[in-house]
């Protein structure tokens, strides 16, 4: 049976499950939940004798540090990064992501976000890209994005070893079928329903016959998170660790 947990812990455990088999997981800036999931994955793999490696961009922990930005992108180009996380101000049903802005008339759109960062490259090069967006609404999950920062799928002649693998939100977990260029609902988080997901999603998606509930983290997982992951993730993300676990960085 499962212990008490918070949404963040549910998501971290679910993402860690998706990361199975990834030898090198890279995590971008401002990604505490994916970062924690990568550390949970690594902990489990190490207990099983594996050598899973995690790079957290922006951390000062040497073990997780990349050799600068050029090295990060180059190593992805060499095929040395197995998993990465992307998000989007808008995400559509073909897994296109938009980090640039809302509205017609680019570049003078009515809302302007920061920009595409490394998405237009990493989405192609990293085999398992997990899309992560906490706000699941018709504002964020749209039929068609207003600007394609990075496309979800590519024509068969375009070199693309990587691409979208799953989409994790505050409501549910989708898997992405690259052949069909469609999301399929994988599980709905406890306390939420398929109808709620449908109501809040602007794109069409597949629904398997029996929709499962996202597995709640078990007691052992919660112990690992609270005792092992929390003090480590507190280095790059002190506010997050304090808020979720009341924990400060390890000395």
């Amino acid at each position: 049976m499962s212990a008490d947990y918070v949404l963040e812990e549910l998501l971290i455990a679910a993402i860690a499950g998706l990361l199975e088999g990834c030898g090198h997981i890279a995590v971008g800036v401002s990604s505490p939940i994916p970062g924690s999931a990568a550390l949970l994955r690594r902990h489990r793999d190490r207990e099983a004798g594996g050598r899973t490696r995690v790079s957290i961009i922006g951390t000062t922990i040497p073990e997780f540090r990349t050799d600068g930005g050029v090295d990060l992108f180059d190593s992805a180009g060499q095929g040395r990064v197995d998993a990465f996380f992307l998000s989007g101000g808008q995400i559509d049903g073909r897994a296109n992501i938009n980090l640039v802005g809302v509205g017609d008339g680019y570049p003078q759109q009515k809302v302007r976000w920061s920009g595409s960062f490394g998405s237009a490259y990493l989405y192609f090069m990293v085999p398992k890209v997990i899309l992560f967006r906490l706000e699941h609404s018709r504002r964020t999950m749209v039929e068609s994005v207003d600007f394609i920062s990075a496309p979800g799928v590519s024509p068969p002649n375009v070199h693309r070893p990587g691409g979208p693998y799953a989409l994790v939100t505050d409501l549910c977990l989708f898997r992405f079928d690259r052949e069909r260029a469609r999301f399929a609902l994988a599980s709905v988080h406890p306390g939420h329903t398929l109808e709620e997901v449908r109501d809040n999603t602007g794109f069409d998606f597949d629904v398997p016959e029996a929709v499962t509930e996202t597995a709640a983290p078990d007691g052992q997982t919660l112990s690992i998170l609270r005792e092992t992951v929390a003090p480590v993730i507190a280095d790059p993300y002190p506010k997050f660790a304090r808020r979720v676990w009341g924990v400060s960085a390890a000395a």
């Binding site: 540090r65 302007r112 960062f117 237009a120 490259y121 600007f147 590519s154 375009v158």
Partner: protein
């Protein structure tokens, strides 16, 4: 060379002509030359073509807000945990700054082409992104080593000036960049680098076997000025932390044009905040 060492950041800012293509470095790690940025605003520089390597934050936002920038070529301008970059957002929407959207590895690859003196660099990915659709300076070519394998060719980026902040420089104009290897690419690609440093190193950095590998030779450096706490309100790893209060203040103030002007008065011109008439 002794004439590389300049008196102060204002003297350094004078080396940046109006209309220059200026490469600035991302915010994290303390390499954003913020004291020099204030000096550029004071000097009233105009029409800059800003290239953010590969992103920027407060630095680009302030330069844009102060009207110094005609074009910003960027993979992202953001205040990170303090939210969207307000002046950047306003200026893009108003059309008062031309934005050229890029993606981080394309900025690096363009600079690497500049560094190698080659006209372009091929790069994987990108195809199908609206970035490519809107960039008439990119070309999609055929990989000459395979059939029907399209690949993007990115033109070389050759900034007139690379502007950044480092922990250490010496009197010969050599600068020590620590872990920020991307600064070498930036400095090599640019016609010259203008650099602020926390302090001067005694002796020649190139003579120190442990410091030399992370040192950019004076051959690439057009000017160095000492600027203690020159990255503030950004922190410099190992020296001082981000000034969270000032970032929060900026994020609040810069939401309006008036608030941004007040920010400039306080932090760029060093004038006390105007007391509201009561």
């Amino acid at each position: 060379m002794s004439d590389v060492l300049l008196a102060n950041v204002d003297r350094l800012a004078a080396e940046v002509p109006d209309g220059a293509k200026v490469a600035v470095f991302k915010a994290e790690g303390g390499c954003a030359a913020m004291a020099a940025t204030a000096a550029l605003i004071r000097r009233g520089v105009r029409d800059l073509h800003l290239v953010t390597v590969p992103t920027s934050g407060l630095q680009a936002d302030m330069l844009i807000g102060a009207g110094c920038v005609a074009t910003v070529e960027t993979s992202g301008v953001t205040l990170s945990e303090y939210g969207q970059a307000p002046c950047f957002g306003r200026a893009v929407k108003a059309g008062t700054v031309r934005v050229i959207d890029s993606t981080c590895p394309a900025v690096y690859a363009g600079l690497q082409a500049g560094e190698k003196g080659i006209p372009f660099m091929p790069l994987r990915g990108l195809i199908g992104s609206d970035i490519v659709r809107h960039r008439d300076d990119y070309r999609v070519i055929d990989n000459p080593f395979a059939a029907a394998d399209p690949i993007v060719a990115l033109p070389a980026i050759v900034p007139d000036i690379a502007l950044f902040h480092v922990p250490l420089a010496d009197r010969f104009g050599n600068v020590w960049i620590g872990r920020h290897a991307e600064l070498k690419v930036m400095a090599h690609a640019a016609r010259k680098a203008l650099v602020t440093c926390e302090r001067l190193h005694d002796g020649n950095l190139l003579q120190d076997e442990t410091l030399a590998p992370a040192t950019i030779s004076e051959m690439y450096i057009g000017g160095v000025a000492v600027a203690e706490r020159g990255a503030w309100p950004y922190g410099v790893t190992g020296l001082y932390d981000d000034d969270a209060d000032r970032f929060a203040a900026y994020a609040g103030m810069a939401k309006t044009e008036e608030g941004f002007v007040a920010w400039l008065e306080e932090t760029v011109y060093g004038r006390a905040p105007a007391v509201a008439a009561e």
